[in-house]
């Protein structure tokens, strides 16, 4: 992923989805870009918030 890896923050609780790490507990492999995370399956692992309520962090 290198420098192109981005981080997305849950607006509700501040959990950070890091593209470099993915989210293995939801079967999202490391390196998965946020755009490619399946909207119908993904939710914030800390508070349940859905994909549309994540925001891109400055990077």
């Amino acid at each position: 992923m290198g420098t192109s890896s981005r981080r997305w923050r849950c607006r509700s609780c501040g959990y950070i989805y890091d593209e470099a790490l993915g989210l293995p507990e939801q079967d999202i492999a490391p390196g998965t870009r946020f755009e490619d995370v399946p909207e119908e399956a993904f939710y914030c692992p800390d508070c349940g918030t859905e994909k549309q309520d994540f925001e891109l962090m400055d990077y």
Partner: protein
Amino acid sequence: MALELTLAETVINAQAYADGDRVDAAFRRIRTEAPLDVAELEGFDPFWVVSRHADIKDIERQPDLFHNGDRSTFMSSRENEAKVKALTGGDPNLIRSLVSLDGQEHKDLRGILFPHLTPRAIRPLEEQVRKIAREFVDHMLAKGSECDFAMDVAFLYPLRVIMTVLGVPQEDEPFMLKLTQELFSNADPELNRSGKEQTPEEILKSLWETTMELEAYFGAVTKRFRENPSTEVNSLIANAKVNGEYLNHRQIMGYYIIAATAGHDTTSNTTAGAMWALAERPELLGQMQADPSLISAFVEESIRWVVPVKHFMRSAVADCEIGGKRIAAGDWLMLCYQSGNRDETVFDTPFDFRLDRGTNPQIAFGYGVHVCLGQHLARMEMRILWEELFTRLKSVELAGTPSRTISNFVCGPKHVPIRFTAQ
């Protein structure tokens, strides 16, 4: 330098929260003059007053550094905290619920209900909730042209929803409402257990009696649901196991109690406060009727506006820095959500009720791993109530002076007299 005494007294004063403007004025000065400073009050351990939105979030995002359960999770005098420890055998909190747990225990217990309360998981409940909302709209409109929206609708509708989700029979709802009010409104003679002003010692005695009454009720619930498991939330709690073991007595009672009390009282307060705001700004009704998509913004702004949970306490585990101040291990901190939700650096015109805030970064549900477990259900309940009510309402205005519960913890409006016409 310590926080000015009058400001420190105001941020823990239950009557100041009932007054509304008084506590807002104090927090406005605190945010400007001493946004993160120590309050020193007789009878209380010193505590940091955390008034800024950014500092509250910073603390809540570091749950390993700032613990919920090492000290009392809500403001408590030194004497009362010692008495609670004596009653519980060392726990500074009378009720061992999610809000007073840390680390793996918190993660394990939160994980029991978390999968059942995500937006996706609660979506199938929408029709059932809508049916309940319609019943309460019918109930309100049947009153003619006036009602006390807090007492007649706002206290009862979220109660019915949460009790349905929990699996509590309707005939037990008045009992649950009474005990919830005793638990959270103990400084208010109109709603507390004794019906009079109480000393701190009497408040603690009342809280203990209420807790014991709730435990007696839920003891039977555990037995019932272990014999006949169902999909209702109380059954999930009764039958949950961590590492192969049922939850222990304090864990299971704390879980039932927080679900059955905080699960509706916060939503009730917000619903009542939303109607108060609407009745003072009747033009908003027409705007939302013309564009129902604004109802979600109305819900979010009403949560920011009411802030039903006024504070939670945290204690620092290690020396650290927050907002440019050195915090020492063991320091006690008061996270003032009412102040965070009025922070001028985050919200334009924070003392205006507005539907055009776009993404509303309100922090009334908290932030981080302790963010309210029921937030998605609460939002859904409120949205559905307003969708159902606004299609049948022609006008609404105040019919008297609203009033708030006397409390510095979980509270909001207790009377919202309105006059209305139906379509």
